[in-house]
Amino acid sequence: MSKNLRTKTSKFIDETTRISFRFDGKKYFGFRGDTLASALLANNIHLVGRSFKYHRPRGIMTAGSEEPNAIVQLNNNSSRTEPNVRATEIEIYEGLEASSQNCWPSVKFDIGGINNFLSPILPAGFYYKTFMWPASFWEKYEYFIRKSAGLGKSPTKPDPDIYEHKYIHCDVLIIGAGISGVMAAKIAAKNGFKTLLVDEKSYLGGSTIYQNSENFKINNQVSNSWLEKEINEIKKFKNLEIKTRTSVAAFHGYNYLLARENLTDHLPLDQRKDKTRQRLLKIRAKKVITATGSLERPLIFDNNDRPGILLSSAIKTYANLYGVACGEKNVLFTNNDSAYETAISLYQKGINIEAIIDNREEVDSKLIKETEKNNIKVYKGYTVVNTSGYKRINKISIMQLSKDGQKVTGNKIFIECDCLGVSGGWTPAVHLFTQSGGKLKFRDEDQVFIPKTYPSDQISIGSCNGDFTLDEILSSIPNKLKVFLNIKHTVYENIEVQSPFNKSKRNIWLLPSDKNIGKTKSFVDYQNDATAKDIKLALREGFRSIEHVKRYTTTGMGTDQGKLGNMHALGIISETAGSKMGELGTTTFRPPYTPLTFGTIVGRNVGEYFDVFRKTPIHEWHVKNNAKFENVGQWKRSWYYPKNGESMHDAVQRESKAARDSAGILDASTLGKIDIQGTDASEFLNRVYTNSWSKLSIGKCRYGLMLNEDGMVYDDGVTTRLSENHYIMTTTTGGAATVLGKLEDYLQTEWPELDVYLTSVTDHYATISVCGPNSRKIVSKIIPDLDFSDESFPHMSFKNVKIGKIKCRLMRISFTGELSYEINVQANYSKSLWERCMEAGKEFNITPYGTETMHLLRAEKGFIIVGQDTDATMTPIDLQMDWIVSKKKYDFIGKRSLYRSDTIKEDRKQLVGLLTENPEEILEEGAQIIADINKSPIEMLGHVTSSYYSPNLKKSIALGVVRGGKNMMGQKLIIPMENKQINVTVADPVFLDKENKRLNA
């Protein structure tokens, strides 16, 4: 087990810096430059996890972000733990702790492995089929299904790391820094474009940077040395920014892209302190060049998922880049020339190759000849039919393929091995391109989807565009970029390329076996354990659309989105259903390309910045005086002010009583305030409110209801005429912004001829409301010069006043039914004015009250709260507020809707008062209201909208909406609760002082 499989030195690995890490609790060593995967492989560890459904042992399969199997939990049991991290991407650091997922008690002995033997009874759609009946049992099933679902564990503590967002604007964004991306970057930067080059890896140069074979040459230099010089050159460009460890997650319309830049995940823990961990880049690029390369395809055969089975290209990457041999007895299995590149690399490093199995029968190329020259046995026209070895592959069996590739013939040959490299050709990484809205076309000759039409100013180059070979890349890029960037010259004219790659390929989506398919486990999606058999079953059961087959079998629905197997799924469907690949389409690739942390998505918007709130200018006083706060829209409003450990109920009762017995004071600064000016201001108000405004004299206030065009109540508030052409409108706290928006909309689009100007002054003025029988005495102490008599200053009127040198607007208006004054003052004076009111009111026991008391007091008077007693289905008539709807006005917003066939129905829900039989019983807001409990089904008549215990009336009061309630006065109704029924009587919604004696006191 602890064998060292590190081979000859790689220059990408710093062998002078040894790094220790833990995997499943055991300590191992690797070198700086290693990924967790390469370090584990160097320690001869392949088994790293269990599969999702069958809990089959799984190993490292790739060397990149497409990895389906080797996903691990990092730093288990810490606040920094992270599930589903690809071992092939995480760079090791001192102190790294990783563990296997989806296994218990351990990856080597996993109880869930029994599912593998139960697999004949766990086919595709097992859950859908099994847990359908009896339907009432679903809740019981759900518990167990949820327990076994999901991969990895999410952290339970807050994330201690720092994340941030950053906007980037550039002329040209290049995604992918392989040979194509590097060439594009040089061309763009040399031509003066502000260029950004990003790559998900820690190094530049893609797979060419470790292509050190003498077979591939550019201008007579081995391709990797040529590319290295190019990279060194572009690093000097001032107008080119290069970001490594940066993965583009999403490619949206209008060239708007999101990328995740990893800043500290590769650093030792002690070097990360106070540094930003990850950054979400929001990139707006004028032009985008996609050079995302291609992914090697696996091959689909029986038991193709054992630890030790890797992509052939990954074996080459581990050998060339990390200096690691994946096995001592290596076999390669291929349908194209790529595996021979791997073979030659391994041979040069002295790594043993037992054999190469090639699907193709009659095939020859320079690479094959060179391989055979090195005495490596090549089985041509053969396929692997099975593998064995539970926790690590130890043997394969191969048979000869029939001419049509549908069957196997001849004798079985067994080959012992500890590592099998598979190569099924290449799939262009078109994920980001299709996310942007690009359409694909199918290229029959090598069975690949490549970009067809671009929805924005972008282009795909290199192997993600289907240009796989070195000569194709070097000859196509200069010409393409000349057109795309509209430039005359590129730096890559007349380059000599040596690229002896034979493009022949024998594509068989599902390789035949000597066994019946029902007895095979040929995995198409490794992470979700979807097999070829499952896909065929789905088709037999009638699924045809690729999107349906995907969901039924869960193919491509893992955290890797099926980057390896999606093409095979499509191929098997098209073969089985007899349709053409190009016509079948593909499933949708959705962002993110690789998983993002939540931290990256939220950035700095955490804690108090998650949802910022607004404070009134008097807020500090409320805090100091022990207020509890309530969220109203974005505002923090004082809810109630408990004294000496009072409960909320007790505090509200005390505040409510004080306000009616002597004096109360409320911070009403959050009310929306809109300043309305212009010669047509009165006409404008006439059109937006239901009542008439033309006769309101200067210095008077009026309450107004605003409707939507559909006749439903939208907002309410008091508007005051300050002068001939000047009004100040108040709106509800939550409705301020939308009311302003609605008024602007009508002014700009329907009535542009009106001379009206709207300005939001919500933040500029604070509002202090003093109410109660002693309010006049208190306010007149502060403003001694003013005549407060009813004649001079009646209810619903306004005065410009001065308190010292401070100008204020004083209104005598009331939301409580008490004598009440509202002082509007420039916000920055408001706290001192509030304190002055408190001082003046001391002798009257002036009591600060919050929103809860305000709600109680107004409910006693039957005043509505828009949004609490109304929803978007209440007309003023439903609210029994017919008095506010002008009959004379020819038109106002919503008028026509008030006599639509639906709005004139008698049995609409209407606002009524509700009194409980037992006056001590308080109803629950939202409770249902019914008339007959024995009727089946029980008819729901409405619900309770507001409910309080009134200390002033010494009984419970409530408002509710009841179907046909207007005509049910005095009628008995029932509120059914969990354990009881509450009897109520329909009453007038005005419970207190119907004659308005208090208002005019």
Partner: protein, 91 residues
């Protein structure tokens, strides 16, 4: 996310704007003269086209002006923007 050219401010991010539904639906001058059906036509009926759609947009986090926009809803291509009251382009 679109890049929208506000006719008053120029090119801005979509996040500065609010969509306001179908354009060129004029509020009837004499609503009281209309039958229930005619009023319902104005009130509720909106097109939801796959293709060229005329829409209202508001530069709500900018100049707060309303304007019209012609958008191909199948690929989000913005064909034109023009001020309120201006004649729609022939597209």
């Amino acid at each position: 996310m679109f890049l929208i050219i506000c006719p008053y401010c120029g090119e801005r991010e979509q996040s500065e704007f609010k969509a306001g539904g179908e354009a060129h639906i004029v509020r009837p001058k004499q609503p009281t003269e209309l039958s229930d059906d005619e009023w319902a036509e104005y009130l509720f009926m909106r097109k939801n086209i796959k293709g060229i759609q005329f829409e209202r947009w508001n530069h709500i986090h900018g100049c707060r002006k309303w304007f019209n926009m012609v958008r191909d809803t199948s690929n989000d291509e913005i064909k034109a923007v023009y001020k309120m009251g201006e004649k729609p382009p022939s597209i």
